[in-house]
């Protein structure tokens, strides 16, 4: 059985990103289940600040010893910040998946977050995929 951690204050996408609203910005990272399934993270490629994104776009890349995966934007807007720490220490994603955010998107329409799952729905989704 999995023993993944699910932060109850976050929203989750079926592509395993988490999102947290901060005023007009949405902070994005990957879930504990995602980092565990990927194994050791070795590289993160972040977008340019100011880049326009639409929900569903691949906006960043996370690479592990196993594979390269796209980070999918759960909301539309423009990139307002990226976590530069991940350039030098991508392993922070393994150590603290809910602290090691990837980027922030300044959103036009925060209701797009409503399309995401809450922690309970997401944990049920992860279990169903095992």
């Amino acid at each position: 059985m999995s023993s993944y951690h699910y932060d109850p204050d976050l929203k989750y996408a079926d592509s395993h990103e988490w999102a947290r609203r901060e005023d007009s910005h949405v902070v994005i990272g990957i879930s504990d289940a995602a980092q565990d399934m990927m194994s050791d993270i070795v590289f993160v490629e972040l977008p340019e600040i100011g880049a326009a994104v639409a929900a569903g776009d691949a906006i960043a890349v996370v690479e592990s010893v196993k594979a390269a995966e796209d980070i999918i934007a759960p909301v539309s807007g423009s990139v307002s910040a990226v976590n530069e720490d991940l350039n030098d220490e991508p392993e922070l994603v393994n150590k603290d998946p809910y602290g090691a955010w990837f980027l922030k998107i300044e959103v036009e329409d925060a209701t797009e977050l409503d399309n995401l799952m809450d922690a309970d729905a997401y944990s049920a989704f992860v279990e169903s995929q095992q």
Binding site: S39, D40, V42, F43, E45, V61, E63, V65, K66, A68, N87, E91, N94
Partner: protein, 347 residues
């Protein structure tokens, strides 16, 4: 767990691939490599048969010594890379899991006219590897025999942790260490005893991912990646294995021609200048902007903390220091050809 040549093998254990990798570079690690195949060869023509079917000269190999070698097709391409042990009354040939049946059939097809017995003993032999600078000391503590005194590329029969086994001072990690051949029913208790004995030294169980990153840093070829049935030993930088002075052996004519004329491409090592992860099958772009080669293995090196790779490039484009581009996720990324191996253990 992943299927690997029909075996279920752990890619990693709890510590994770990078921690497992570091344990082998700094302390010790144990690998379950029972998927490897082992053939026993005996009979009065065993030496002459072996001299014919593989490329190394093993005539000077003494009892309890081991040699790396290759099986080659008539056209000089590679059937498999193998390890050969000379034991009293017999030879042991260790082959890659994915090639076990192919190799056995191939070798069997040349036995006609030789007084030899060739037997696949893989199922009667459990194979573990204990690797790392502390491997010898840990095994030594578990045995009354002087395990640590064995020179590199030699073998000995000893009782270790109460289990009678064959140990070869060989490996596939670029570190000192041993490969162990023991009865299958003893493998689990021995594994547990070894982990208990080595825990204080930092010994970890290691999976396939660490095995791959370790052999890659040491630039040891992996069949299906750096070498295969379309690759000859010279382009794979394994020319040193081929003993052309032997009178007749499989692939000799073709290999002699390659040796004299050179080959169209060569394996090179490269280091990314732009941060990005090179992976197998990524294209390599030459000076004129076209894809002229491909990556065979690439990753972020856990020891060097750099993004590095191995790949093939056309002759004339392999000079150390030359800049190339690797096509990573559709984008050309700058890299530089560098020396191999990427890592060499301090002795």
């Amino acid at each position: 767990m992943v299927p690997f040549a029909d075996y279920e093998l752990p890619v990693q254990y709890a510590a994770g691939p990078n921690a497992e990798h570091r344990s082998v570079r700094t302390a010790a690690g144990v690998f379950d490599i029972d998927h490897m195949g082992q053939f026993a060869l005996s009979g009065e023509d065993a030496l002459s048969f072996l001299q014919y079917v593989q490329v190394a000269d093993v005539s000077s190999v003494k009892e309890w010594e081991a040699r790396y070698s290759l099986l080659c097709y008539d056209d000089g391409t590679i059937v498999d890379d193998i390890f050969i042990y000379r034991l009293p009354e017999k030879w042991l040939i260790v082959v890659n899991a994915a090639n076990r049946e192919k190799d056995f059939t191939w070798l069997q097809s040349f036995t006609h006219g030789y007084r030899v017995a060739l037997t696949d003993v893989s199922d009667e032999t459990y194979m573990l590897a204990v690797q790392g600078p502390k491997a010898a000391a840990i095994l030594d503590r578990m045995s009354a025999s002087d395990i640590a005194a064995a020179p590199p590329r030699t073998a000995l029969q000893a009782e270790v942790g109460g289990v009678e086994m064959l140990l070869g001072r060989t490996g596939y990690t670029g570190e000192d260490g041993f490969e162990l051949y023991l009865p299958p029913e003893k493998a689990v208790p021995f594994w547990d005893a070894l982990l208990a004995e080595g825990a204080g030294d930092g010994l970890l169980p290691c999976g396939l991912a660490a095995r791959d990153s370790l052999r890659f840093e040491a630039c040891m070829s992996l069949y299906g990646h750096e070498i295969d049935a379309r690759t000859n030993p010279y382009e794979a930088r394994l020319g040193w294995v081929v003993a052309l002075q032997k009178p007749a052996f499989l692939g000799r004519n073709a290999l002699l021609k390659v040796k004299l004329e050179g080959t169209e491409r060569y394996l090179v090592g490269f280091e990314m200048i732009e941060k990005a992860v090179p992976r197998e099958e990524h294209g390599i772009i030459g000076f004129e902007g076209q894809v002229v080669g491909h990556v065979t293995t690439g990753m972020k090196s856990p020891t060097l903390d750099k993004f590095i790779g191995l790949g093939y490039l056309p002759r004339g484009m392999t000079r150390i220091g030359s800049e190339i581009h690797v096509l990573i996720r559709g984008r050309p990324r700058r890299a530089r050809i560098c020396k191999r191996p990427f890592y060499r253990a301090r002795r």
